[in-house]
Amino acid sequence: MNSRRLMLRAAGLAGAAALAGCVTINIYFPAAAAEKAADRIIDEVWQLKDGGAPVNVKPAPEERK
C-alpha cells in the first residue's frame, strides 16, 4: 500500500516536473527564428538580396593616368 502511494506521488511529481519543463520551453531562445531574422537583416545590410553580384565586390575604380 505504501509503495503504491509512493508511486502515485512520484507520478505526480513527474507531472509537475514536466509542466515546469514546458513553461521553460516557452521562454527558450527561438534559435531558428533568430537565424532567419539575422539573415534577413544581413541580406539588407550587405545587399545580398537580389542573388546577383553583391554591390561590394566591385573593385575600386582605377585611377586614370
Binding site: G15, A33, I42, W46
Partner: protein, 140 residues
C-alpha cells in the same frame, strides 16, 4: 489521483504544442528603431566593404567588427576607418539589444548577438577576415 496525472499529461502536451508553435514564429524586426539601425548600417556598408576586402577590418566572433590590420589602411584613411568601426559596432550593439527588446525578451540579447556573429561570418565574402572560435583571425 490517476485523473490528476492524466490531466497533467494533457496539459503538458498542450504546453509542448504551444512551445513548438512559439518557436516557429518569426522574430519582430520591423520596429522603427530596428529599421533605422538597418538603414544606417546599410549605408555605412558601402564605406566598410573595401576595408573588409583588404583585410583591414574583420568580423569578430562576438558579432562586431574590428580593425585587425591598421597597416592595410593608408595613413590618410586611418581615422576614417576607426570612426567607421566604432559607429558600426555601436549600431550592431543597439541592433541586438533592440531585437531582444522588440520581442519582449531583453535577456535574449546575448543569444541574438551570438546568432548574428555566426551568420555574419558564414555569409561573409571570400577574402574577408573573421575570428574563429579561438579568437584567431582567419581569411575566408
Amino acid at each position: 489521483m490517476r485523473l490528476s496525472v492524466l490531466l497533467c499529461t494533457a496539459l503538458a502536451a498542450a504546453l509542448i504544442g504551444a512551445g513548438a508553435a512559439h518557436a516557429q514564429a518569426n522574430l519582430e524586426i520591423d520596429t522603427p528603431a530596428i529599421a533605422a539601425l538597418r538603414s544606417s548600417m546599410q549605408s555605412r556598408h558601402a564605406q566598410l566593404a573595401p576595408f573588409y576586402a583588404s583585410g583591414a577590418v574583420g568580423l569578430t566572433r562576438e558579432g562586431f567588427v574590428a580593425l585587425r590590420d591598421a597597416a592595410a589602411v593608408p595613413l590618410a584613411q586611418r581615422q576614417q576607418v576607426n570612426a567607421l568601426v566604432a559607429a558600426e559596432n555601436q549600431d550592431r550593439a543597439a541592433l541586438y539589444r533592440e531585437i531582444a527588446r522588440a520581442n519582449g525578451h531583453p535577456e535574449w540579447e546575448n543569444d541574438i548577438r551570438a546568432t548574428f556573429a555566426r551568420r555574419w561570418i558564414e555569409r561573409a565574402q571570400p577574402g574577408w577576415y573573421y575570428q574563429n572560435a579561438g579568437g584567431a583571425w582567419v581569411r575566408k
